[in-house]
C-alpha cells in the first residue's frame, strides 16, 4: 500500500527548512521513503491519548546552576584552526546582509 503522506513539493520545502540542497531525483526518493516511514507512524497518530502527559526527557532535569567564576576555556587559536575560514580572531562567513 503506497500512501503519499508527504508530497515531492513538501519534501523540497522541508529540505530547504533543513538547509539541504536536494536534486529532483532525491526529492522523489525522499518523498517516497518518508511517506513509508510516516505511514508506519500512523499507529501512534491514531492513539486516543489526549490526557497523557508527554515525556520530553527520561530524567527529570531542573535548572542546573554553577558559581559564576572565570575558568580556563578552549584555546581560541586551536578552535579557530579547526574552522574552514577564520580571520582577525573570528569565524569568517560569506556576506549575510546586502551590499550597502
Amino acid at each position: 500500500m503506497s500512501t503519499e503522506e508527504i508530497s515531492v513539493e513538501e519534501t523540497r520545502h522541508v529540505a530547504h527548512l533543513a538547509r539541504l540542497a536536494i536534486s529532483d531525483d532525491e526529492a522523489t526518493m525522499y518523498a517516497r521513503q518518508l511517506s513509508a516511514i510516516l505511514t508506519h507512524a500512523r499507529d501512534i497518530a491514531a492513539l486516543d491519548i489526549a490526557s497523557v502527559e508527554p515525556t520530553r526527557h527520561a530524567v527529570a532535569v531542573k535548572n542546573i546552576t554553577r558559581a559564576d567564576e572565570v575558568v580556563p576555556s578552549l584555546d581560541r587559536s586551536e578552535v579557530l584552526a579547526a574552522a574552514p575560514r577564520a580571520e582577525a580572531n573570528m569565524f569568517s562567513v560569506p556576506r549575510i546582509l546586502g551590499e550597502g
Binding site: 508506519h40 501512534i44 530524567v59
Partner: protein, 485 residues
C-alpha cells in the same frame, strides 16, 4: 594463551604484577589489527604511536613503584563519535573529515586516568544513524564471525573490534540500540547504562534525550569493570545524574529468587533460531533458581514509531551545527544560505539527510502535535508500562535483535532497517539500562544475544542476571580466521 585472548581484568592484573608489560599487550593487539583488520575494517584511525607511548608510561610508573589504575595497560577501542583533543574525529561523516577537536570527552579522560590505552577510533554509521555500519561515510565494517554479514550498528566498528580480539574493551554509544544490537550480532557483551549515569560531554550529539555511552567486552565482568571506570557525575554534562556512580565489586551470578519477566511483545516476529535461543535462556535462568514468566507491555509495540519521530526531531536540531562555519567541510555558495545548503548536501550521506528531513517535518508547524507531541506521549506510556512490569519483576528479558547478522544490502529499504531496533528502542525511550549477553547460536550458527533490561540505576541486578546467563552460554564465537586452527 595468546595475549589477545585475555580479558581486561586479566590484562590489568598481569600488568600490575609485572607478568606482562603494557607495551607487550599493546604491541600484541596492534599486531592482531595489522594482520586482520583488512578483512574487517573495524577502525577508521589507529592510535599506534600514542598507544605505545601510553603503554611505556604505564610501564615506567610501575618501575617507579607508583600505583596503577584498575585498567592498567588495557587497550580500548573508541567509537569515532567521541572526541579526543588533536586527533581526527569524523563521526563516520565526510562533513567532519580532517576535524581535530580542541577538547577530550570525559569518558576518555576517565579511561586514561584508570590506566587504559586508547588504541584506535572505530567505524560507525554516519552520526550513529544506522543498524549495520553500512551507512558509514567511509567504508562498511564486516562481521568478524562471518565477513559476508554486517556487524550491526551503529557501533559496528567497536563491536567488531572486540569480537575480532583487536581490543578486549571498546566504547560505543546507544541511542536506539547502537551498542546492544551490534553486540548481539558479533557475539560480544554490550551494555547501555541508565540515562545520565555516564557523561555525554564530548560525545557528538545525535538525539540528546536518548544518547548514552556504554561498554563492549567479551565478558560480563569486563563490561562491568569498564562501566565502573566511566560512570559518575560530570559537571560538564547537565543531564548527568548527581551522586550517581557504579561499583562492579562483588557482583555475582546468583539469581535464586529473582523474578524475571519475558516481554511478550518482543517475541513476536523473531526468527526461529532466535526463538530457540531465547527459550534456552529461559530454561537456564529457571535452572539457576530464578522464576521466569511472560509479561505483556503493550505500549512497547509503539516504541519504533515514537523513536523514529523523537530521534530524528532531536537530530535535526543537533545537526544544525554542521553549517560550514566553525568546523569541518565548507562548500562556498553565493550567500550564506547557499553555503549552508551546499555544505550540508555535500557533507551528509543519504540516511543522515533522510533523518534530518523526517525530524524537520515532525517538528514543523501543522505536524508538531500530531507527530512529535504524540510520540512524547507514547514515551510516557512506555515509561508507565515498564513501571507496572517492574512491580512484579526484578528484571525483564527479550531477544536483543529479532534476527542474526544479516548480509550486506539485505535491508536497503529504510523501514526494514529500522525494524532491527524494535527490541532495543524502548529502553532508550524510558532511560533505563539494558544489555546484550551472547548466549547461543541461531541461523547458520551465528551469535544470538539475550537482552536483559532493568529499571533506572538498577545496573547491579541487571549484571547479576547477565552473569547467570553467561555461565550457561555456549562457547564464544571466534573470528573467522581463528576457526580453521
Amino acid at each position: 594463551m595468546k595475549i589477545v585472548d585475555l580479558g581486561a581484568a586479566d590484562i590489568a592484573t598481569a600488568v600490575r604484577s609485572g607478568a606482562l608489560s603494557a607495551r607487550e599487550v599493546t604491541e600484541a593487539h596492534l599486531a592482531e589489527i595489522s594482520a586482520h583488520d583488512a578483512s574487517v575494517s573495524a577502525f577508521l584511525l589507529l592510535l599506534s604511536e600514542s598507544a605505545l607511548q601510553g603503554a611505556d608510561a604505564i610501564d615506567a610508573k610501575r618501575a617507579h613503584g607508583e600505583e596503577l589504575g584498575p585498567l592498567a595497560g588495557v587497550p580500548v577501542a573508541l567509537k569515532d563519535n567521541m572526541v579526543l583533543r588533536g586527533v581526527e574525529t569524523t563521526c563516520g561523516s565526510k562533513i567532519l573529515q580532517g576535524w581535530k577537536p580542541p577538547y577530550t570527552a570525559t569518558v576518555i579522560e576517565r579511561l586514561v586516568s584508570a590506566g587504559a590505552i586508547p588504541i584506535g577510533k572505530t567505524n560507525l554509521d554516519e552520526f550513529a544513524m544506522g543498524s549495520s555500519t553500512e551507512n558509514s561515510g567511509y567504508f562498511p565494517t564486516r562481521n568478524p564471525i562471518d565477513p559476508a554479514r554486517v556487524p550491526g550498528g551503529s557501533s559496528g566498528g567497536s563491536a567488531a573490534a572486540v569480537a575480532a580480539h583487536f581490543a578486549p574493551l571498546a566504547l560505543g554509544s546507544d541511542t536506539g540500540g547502537s551498542i546492544r544490537q551490534p553486540a548481539s550480532l558479533c557475539g560480544v557483551v554490550g551494555m547501555k547504562p541508565t540515562y545520565g549515569l555516564v557523561s555525554r560531554y564530548g560525545l557528538i550529539a545525535f538525539a540528546s534525550s536518548l544518547d548514552q555511552i556504554g561498554p563492549f567486552a567479551r565478558s560480563v565482568g569486563d563490561a562491568a569493570m569498564l562501566l565502573s571506570a566511566i560512570a559518575g557525575h560530570d559537571p560538564l554534562d547537565s543531564t548527568s545524574i548527581a551522586e550517581s556512580r557504579f561499583d562492579s565489586a562483588g557482583i555475582h551470578g546468583d539469581v535464586r529468587g529473582l523474578r524475571v519477566g519475558v516481554i511478550a511483545e518482543m517475541t513476536e516476529g523473531i526468527s526461529t533460531g532466535v526463538a530457540v535461543v531465547l527459550e534456552a535462556a529461559v530454561q537456564a535462568l529457571k535452572e539457576a533458581g530464578a522464576s521466569v514468566e511472560t509479561v505483556s507491555i503493550p505500549a512497547t509495540r509503539f516504541g519504533l514509531s515514537a523513536y523514529y519521530l523523537i530521534a530524528p526531531a532531536e537530530a535535526s536540531s543537533n545537526l544544525a551545527r554542521f553549517d560550514g562555519v566553525r568546523f569541518g567541510l565548507r562548500v562556498e555558495g553565493a550567500d550564506i544560505t547557499e553555503t549552508y545548503e551546499k555544505t550540508r548536501a555535500a557533507g551528509f550521506g543519504t540516511e543522515v539527510k533522510r533523518r534530518i528531513m523526517l525530524g524537520t517535518y515532525a517538528l514543523s508547524a501543522g505536524y508538531y502535535d500530531a507527530l512529535y507531541g504524540k510520540a512524547q506521549q507514547v514515551r510516557t506510556l512506555i515509561v508507565n508500562g515498564f513501571a507496572e512490569a517492574y512491580e512484579r519483576f526484578d528484571v525483564l528479558i527479550s531477544p536483543t535483535s529479532p534476527s542474526v547478522a544479516f548480509s550486506f544490502g539485505d535491508r536497503s529499504d529504510p523501514l526494514s532497517m529500522y525494524m532491527s531496533d524494535v527490541c532495543t528502542i524502548p529502553s532508550n525511550l524510558a532511560g533505563h539500562p539494558a544489555m546484550s549477553v551472547p548466549f547461543g547460536a541461531g541461523e547458520d550458527g551465528l551469535p544470538v544475544g539475550i537482552q536483559v533490561l532493568a529499571p533506572a540505576l538498577a545496573e547491579r541486578v541487571m549484571f547479576k542476571v547477565a552473569l547467570a546467563l553467561e555461565q550457561a552460554a555456549i562457547a564464544p564465537s571466534l573470528p573467522i580466521w581463528r576457526k580453521a586452527s
